[in-house]
């Protein structure tokens, strides 16, 4: 019975992640437009975009190989599975026993690898530029993310996200400078990975500055829809990871009643709204940095991650 319940929660979670991801993106876009004094697209615009793209015909370049065609499906699947592993409104998910936080990093890494290959596949120069820049960003962002994972697992004694969330909810953690450093590092990595403003501009099509958009320039139709959906899910995933690790309040434990699950869902929506608001304010307030400054930005994130892991050894051992 417990297994069936876990599976049910897991499928609910997968549906919730997929359903909320475009809404979060639309919400951030709307807020950003409002903050600069525009009216902005309606909240549901990302859903409409995705539906329209799904209905459209795919235009393939003559030089595109099978890599180009399978990449959207792989990227979307890997990102969705990774998002399904993060406890959003309830812990005790069926899949979370199969994979831990390192697996999430690996899933995202393989998605990025496929996307970079696809950017190179068609043979246009923009795709190549985008892939090489994405790899430059990844080469610093991934170690930083792993250092954050190591710090959290040292503190919580586990690499499972649900165990980390439960451990951090407990009384034994206290006030840790390592946690603060890990939070800052994780936020910086999340900004870089999701191509948000100081690193990349998600709304631009100006060729000199774009990174993520340059790789997917050749995609159209349902392929583009899948890649867009994957990037929405990725944003939601990072927000959920930050929410479940650093603000683990309100997440329903395994075996709680239906009311606890609903409360968890409400808390989750609240966290998403808050995170989206902060992201929109941050993006409006700050200017985009040059591509070659990104390595400094992410180097700082990596440094914070290493520092968090180092300082943990000095602190009180629980």
């Amino acid at each position: 019975m417990a297994v069936i319940l876990d599976a049910l929660v897991q499928f609910c979670q997968m549906a919730v992640v997929l359903a909320f991801a475009p809404l979060l993106a639309g919400y951030v876009r709307k807020l950003k437009a409002l903050l600069v004094g525009r009216r902005g697209p309606p909240l549901l615009q990302p859903y409409r975009d995705l539906l329209r793209l799904l209905r459209k015909e795919v235009v393939l370049a003559h030089s595109a190989s099978w890599v180009f065609r399978v990449t959207p499906y792989l990227v979307f699947a890997a990102t969705w599975v990774a998002a399904a592993l993060v406890p959003t409104f309830a812990t005790g998910l069926l899949f979370s026993y199969a994979a831990d936080m390192i697996a999430i990093v690996a899933l995202l890494g393989s998605a990025r690898f496929m996307l970079a290959l696809a950017g190179l596949d068609v043979g246009t120069s923009f795709g190549g530029i985008g892939s090489s820049r994405e790899m430059m960003i990844a080469s610093l962002a991934e170690p930083a993310m792993l250092m954050v994972v190591f710090t959290l697992s040292l503190l919580a004694g586990s690499t499972q996200l649900s165990s980390i969330a439960e451990a951090l909810q407990g009384p034994g953690i206290g006030l840790r400078v390592s946690l603060a450093l890990a939070l800052v590092a994780l936020v910086m990595v999340a900004i870089a990975e999701n191509a948000r403003i100081p690193v990349d501009n998600p709304a631009t099509h100006l060729e000199l500055t774009m990174v993520h958009e340059a790789m997917i320039l050749e995609y159209s139709g349902r392929h583009l829809a899948l890649i867009e959906a994957a990037s929405f899910v990725k944003l939601l995933l990072y927000v959920s990871v930050i929410g479940c690790v650093f603000a683990p309040w309100g997440i329903a434990a395994s075996g709680d009643g239906i009311a606890a699950y609903l409360a968890g869902l409400a808390a989750y929506v609240g966290k998403l709204a808050l995170a989206g608001f902060l992201l929109a304010v941050f993006e409006t307030a700050i200017a985009k940095m040059r591509v070659f400054r990104v390595s400094d930005f992410l180097g700082a994130a990596l440094m914070l991650g290493v520092l968090a892991a180092l300082l943990r050894f000095v602190s009180r051992v629980t």
């Binding site: 006030l175 840790r176 390595s295 180097g299 180092l310 000095v314």
Partner: protein, 221 residues
């Protein structure tokens, strides 16, 4: 005995001091550097005040007050004025890149933790972490002094070393108030001397890049 929460807060401040030291290394603009140094002194004064509270050592409050007034307010303001009068709000050039400096910083922090934790195994938890953080801050200050060419940023590195010494002294329950006051005043005197010295260098070479001094001594750049 010191409770876990008190220890956590002390840890937070001491770890924050190490972080601000690393931020000092990361700054490449003069005003940002001086503001970060003011933050450094602020964190040190909070840290000392908290230790005064948990160790029941009222004389440490005076140390904290000295750090707050002299190093978080007077010295940064004086440095701002010096920098404005020297006309160097431009970027300062580290001799090695930011990335390499950061790697060296991480190495130094790891080194000081590795060195301090085994040899202070008998000491209390508070002294242990204060000593290892203080050694990191001192080493980072030294790194700051050797990796920067500009004389003003070397002064900032020197002052941050002194903050590290204060952290070490408060953690070890040792330093008498007289020593602390004299250290604070000697720092102030050092600032004045260095300030005059900076103007002398500038008059002589029309820059505060100490690289020119090497050539003047007959060394190859």
């Amino acid at each position: 005995m010191i409770g876990p929460l008190a220890l956590d807060v002390a840890h937070l401040f001491a770890g924050g001091l190490v972080l601000v030291s690393v931020m000092l290394l990361y700054q490449d603009r003069m005003t940002g550097l001086i503001n970060t140094f003011a933050l450094h002194a602020l964190v040190v004064s909070f840290s000392v005040a908290w230790q005064a509270f948990i160790q029941d050592a009222p004389h440490l409050y005076i140390t904290a007050a000295i750090a707050l007034v002299v190093k978080a307010a007077v010295i940064p303001l004086a440095l701002h004025r010096i920098v404005v009068r020297l006309g160097i709000h431009r970027t300062i050039e580290p001799t090695v890149g930011i990335g390499l400096t950061m790697l060296a910083a991480i190495g130094l922090i790891a080194l000081s933790i590795m060195v301090m934790l085994p040899i202070t195994a008998q000491a209390g938890a508070l002294a242990r972490e204060d000593l290892s953080f203080a050694l990191s801050v001192i080493l980072l200050g030294l790194l700051m002094m050797i990796s920067r060419r500009n004389a003003v940023s070397q002064v900032v590195g020197f002052m941050s070393i002194e903050n590290g010494l204060i952290l070490a002294a408060t953690g070890a329950k040792g330093m008498p108030l007289v020593v602390e006051i004299s250290v604070a005043f000697s720092i102030l005197v050092a600032l004045i001397v260095i300030g005059i010295f900076l103007f002398r260098i500038r008059e002589r070479f029309e820059t505060v890049d100490i690289h020119l001094l090497h050539e003047h001594r007959g060394e190859q750049p």
